[in-house]
């Protein structure tokens, strides 16, 4: 604390006066004989405590008043951040660059309120001839126009507009972009003819929001005043965030089982124990789990869920409310797409003119009994020659049925297809030549083919004893699980007249799912990359077996197709972030208008990015959540229909969750840029370009106010009780007590 008139401090000695007067008065007390002293003593004893308190208070009030008065007259002041005296200022242009990133919503908006208050104070200091503008320093989408986010991108002399715009604005969910905001501020000031220009940067100094590489080495060339509105400690600010989530289909079938993994990161310096993470699907909370997240580390948890229906599900992985001070990053949105149909490509290795003799005849009907059946499996048949022209990515399973050989290029495509998650089935037949098969498909085969084994023929009288039947079945496998139930044993009666033998290689990746009664493998599967390959060692027509005409054929083949089908996964899906443009690939050749519906229900019409009719659409999300694309109906008045496969989610920028701060000094040096001498640049007058100028904050008025209050207090306390009593009775119209 400093003083303008320190000489007045000598008056502090007056604080002793009340004590001295008290002592003198004590000596000067009038001696008075009194007969009823015992009654006086009794009265005084009962009042002693309150009298003593009152006397001490009175003494304290008098001492305080006599202390504060000379203090106030010495005109003390504090040095605070601010400007010089207003009278000394010339007209100036000010751009308020306000950080409105997600981190500013910290502490239920505490940081934002501080920012609003700080700007309002600065606006209040401006003179009528000053001009001001308002820019928000969060990551703006490329090509966005100034003012779209509620800012005032041009200088105005209407200061009320600035405060009103800030009052109406809320912290966004975008990432911080201080440099972008400062550049915008600099552009507004460039070319303005006023004696003084400056930028007032209002920020929580989030380190992640300022990439030193983006700051121009020469600085911004305009004085920058930093108003710090950080509401927490610089380092180790506690914050937890759900930074990622993914899903993976574990099992196929009508009610596919999924694993949903969530990653929680602890950005603080303290370990977080027992953090509750919740899973919601389609707006309904399904479960929660507790997770310990060490300081500065991530922790993973997996939820298992079996979906009741196919199609789109909107998942939200979130921390329990109130877990930390920044709620904006506590939820991660994840759309889960469950394929409606399994698409199977049947590669016919032995096409025939007679339908029931065709290799695909039974299998095709088992998988897709007809257009009216509502089957979840769609089949498409192709001859070996046509396989090269098929886009394998459009299918979930490819079945090579008694295929002799395929082009080498196609084998490569098949390998990539399987490795990417697709399913591949080999079925045996007379076209399968072991050596050629092994050479051609190699690692794609669950086991190398050894030879063909013919047991008997259908017209052999001894066939019933020579045939093989299904023997050992792996009932733990999804395909054969149901055959463990009553009635399932009928599969064992299926006769097989011939099959191919596989090499007994000790391949841990291969799994024999079913065997024939003589012990030879009937169905073998192997994981290849993300996908699966399986080998059925007999035919899918009636050449080597009666299996296609047995009741077990249909469920076994359908379950096999579903098991092999591509698993649903979030891997490879595009992750969209608030504030960054989202590009949507709308279906080619579709007519009609597309709309986008955001988390709050607001719809926007997607505009073409270019003059091309079916160009990808772009838009910039402003909030995190689930988005869906709607296709407007051509019929007037009809409601727009959601296009589920185009649904996506937008999440907050993870960088915004790291609340670590850049120090004030470091920030100042960075923004000022470096001069040739390597020191922070200064303006023409030698003042630092980034300043937190100090101003005198007078406190004498406050002290005088305190003196006034103390004197008032002293007056009330020091007034004779009898006077106060009479006054009180007069005010309350109470009658005086009757005398004896």
């Amino acid at each position: 604390m400093n003083f303008l008139n320190p000489l007045f401090l000598a008056g502090l000695a007056a604080a002793l006066l009340p004590v001295v007067i008290h002592l003198i008065n004590r000596r000067k007390a009038l001696r008075r004989p009194f007969p009823a002293l015992s009654f006086l003593l009794k009265s005084q004893k009962k009042l002693a405590r309150s009298l003593k308190v009152r006397q001490w208070l009175l003494l304290a009030a008098r001492i305080a008043a006599l202390t504060l008065l000379p203090l106030a007259m010495a005109r003390p002041y504090l040095m605070g951040e601010g400007e010089d005296a207003q009278s000394e200022r010339l007209p100036q242009a000010v751009v308020f660059v306000v950080d409105d990133s997600a981190s500013m919503s910290w502490g239920e908006g505490e940081a934002w309120r501080k920012a609003q208050q700080a700007v309002a104070e600065r606006v209040g200091e401006l003179r009528p001839w000053d001009k001001a503008a308002l820019v928000f320093a969060s990551r703006q989408p490329e090509g966005s126009k100034g003012g779209e986010d509620g800012s005032i991108p041009a200088l105005t002399d209407s200061m009320g507009e600035i405060t009103q715009a800030l009052d109406e604005h809320k912290p966004s969910q975008r990432g911080t972009d201080l440099v972008g905001g400062l550049r915008a501020g600099w552009e507004i000031l460039s070319g303005v003819e006023v004696p003084r220009e400056r930028i007032i940067l209002v920020t929580d100094r989030q380190k992640a929001g300022l990439d030193p590489r983006e700051v121009p080495p020469e600085g911004f060339g305009v004085p920058i005043e930093v108003l710090d509105v950080r509401a927490d400690a610089d380092a180790g600010a506690p914050n937890l965030a759900v930074v990622d989530a993914s899903y993976l289909q574990k099992a196929a079938g009508p009610k596919p089982e999924f694993e949903i993994e969530v990653i929680v990161q602890n950005f603080g310096a303290q370990d977080a124990k027992g953090v509750e993470v919740r899973l919601s699907l389609d707006g309904e909370q399904l479960g929660s789990t507790l997770v310990d997240v060490p300081a500065g580390k991530t922790a993973r948890k997996t939820f298992a869920h079996r979906f009741e229906r196919k199609g789109l599900h909107r998942a939200a992985l979130s921390l329990a409310p109130g877990t930390d001070q920044l709620a904006a990053d506590d939820t991660f949105y994840l759309p889960i797409h469950l394929a409606q149909k399994v698409r199977v490509l049947l590669v016919n290795g032995d096409p025939r003119l007679v339908a029931y003799q065709d290799e695909t005849f039974y299998l095709d009907r088992a998988l897709n009994p007809g257009a009216d059946s509502g089957s979840a499996i769609l089949t498409e048949s192709v001859a070996v020659e046509g396989l090269a022209s098929v886009k394998l990515e459009d299918f979930d399973v490819v079945m090579l049925l008694n295929v002799e050989k395929v082009p080498v290029a196609t084998v490569g495509a098949l390998r990539r297809f399987v490795e990417a998650g697709g399913g591949l089935l080999f079925s045996a037949g007379d076209k399968v030549v072991p050596e050629a098969y092994n050479a051609l498909f190699g690692e794609l085969l669950p086991k190398p083919v050894r030879t063909y084994k013919r047991l008997t023929t259908r017209d052999d009288p001894d066939a019933p004893v020579k045939v093989a039947r299904f023997g050992q079945l792996d009932h733990t496998h999804p395909i054969f699980k149901v055959f463990h139930l009553p009635g399932g044993e009928r599969i064992q009666s299926v006769p097989v007249y011939g099959y191919v033998l596989l090499e007994p290689t000790p391949d841990a990746a291969s799994r024999i799912v079913a065997s024939w009664s003589d012990g030879a493998p009937a169905l073998v599967e192997k994981r290849v990359g993300e996908g699966r390959a399986a080998f059925l060692t007999t035919t899918v027509d009636r050449d080597w077996t009666d299996f296609p005409i047995r009741t077990a054929f249909l469920p076994v083949m359908r379950r096999l197709a579903q098991h092999l089908a591509r698993r649903g996964t979030s891997e490879g899906e595009q992750r969209w972030v608030v504030g960054q443009p989202v590009t949507l690939d709308l279906p080619d050749g579709e007519e009609g208008r597309y709309e986008l519906q955001g988390p709050t229900g607001q719809r926007i019409v997607l505009a073409a990015d270019s003059a091309q009719e079916q160009a990808p659409r772009r838009f910039v999300p402003t909030e995190a959540g689930h988005y869906q694309v709607l296709k407007a109906s051509a019929e007037p008045g009809a409601a727009a229909q959601p296009v589920e496969e185009l649904a996506f989610a937008v999440n907050m920028d993870v960088a915004e969750s790291d609340l670590a701060a850049i120090s004030k000094e470091e920030l100042g040096a960075l923004l000022a840029g470096q001069g040739e001498d390597g020191q922070p640049r200064k303006d023409a007058q030698g003042s630092p370009l980034v300043e937190r100028p100090e101003k005198r904050v007078g406190v004498w008025s406050l002290l005088l106010f305190g003196v006034t209050l103390l004197l008032l207090f002293e007056t009330i306390l020091g007034t004779r009780r009898s006077v106060l009593l009479r006054l009180w009775r007069l005010l309350t119209r109470q009658p005086t007590e009757p005398a004896l």
Binding site: N25, R26, K28, A29, L30, R31, R32, P33, F34, P35, A36, L37, S38, F39, L40, L41, K42, S43, Q44, K46, L47, L51, R54, R720, R721, S722, L725, A739, L740
Partner: protein
Amino acid sequence: MRLGGLSVRARSVVEGFIAGQHRSPHRGSSVEFAEYKEYTEGDEIKHIDWRAYARFDKYYVKQFEDETNLCAYLILDGSGSMDFGSEGVTKLDYARTLAASFAYMMLRQGDAVGALLFDDKPGLYLPASSKTSHLDDVLQVLERLPGSGRTDIAVALQAMAERLRRRGLVVLLSDMLDDAERVMNIAKVLRKRRQEVVVFHVVDRAELELPYEGLTLFEGLEGEGELLVEPDDIRARYQEEIAAHIRGIERECRDGDIEYFRVMTTQPFEAVLLDFIAARLQARR
């Protein structure tokens, strides 16, 4: 105060209103010997039994039944607290004058008057007599009121009770700054012995109102010590305390069939005596 002054004042107080107003309620019928009593100062010399003197070599005085119309004893508080007066007259002076006036009034109508002075113990005692010349003795005794020491009214009343053999009137003049309950217990004993008891509670206005201002060092008159206090701070509480004390005495007197008169030192003596007489007349009816 000189004896002559007190006498004049007593006479002037009484002469103005007394004639014909007070009649003794007790009528003596005969002069019958009752008992002997050892001679003490103030006894009539003519009542000394010389025969008894011849036999025992001690002075004995004859006591007679219904010797006078009424025998009244004045018991006067001469403690330190009585020596206080905020308005010129101390409580002691006032009580003394009132007692003298009372004695004069009683003697004038032929009643006997005795006196006992006390502070924290019984002091000078004057046996009752109805002789006109007895007034001088009473005044002599009153002049010797000390105005110092502590107060113990109960002891004085007890001493009086021991002395009283016949029905009479006991008049207590005091500021009653004593344990009221203890005092009243003894007074009630007297009352049960068929003594009429009258209390003149002499009060100075300052005792009721504590009218002082400014920091004051109060000194006790009976050695209670000192108290430095701003009177304004404790006035209300003090007034409550003293009022409660006085009301307590009044209540005890009323319950014990004791006549009680609170007498301010500013009150005219005639008015006090008139109040007393009026009260007695009313009681007789």
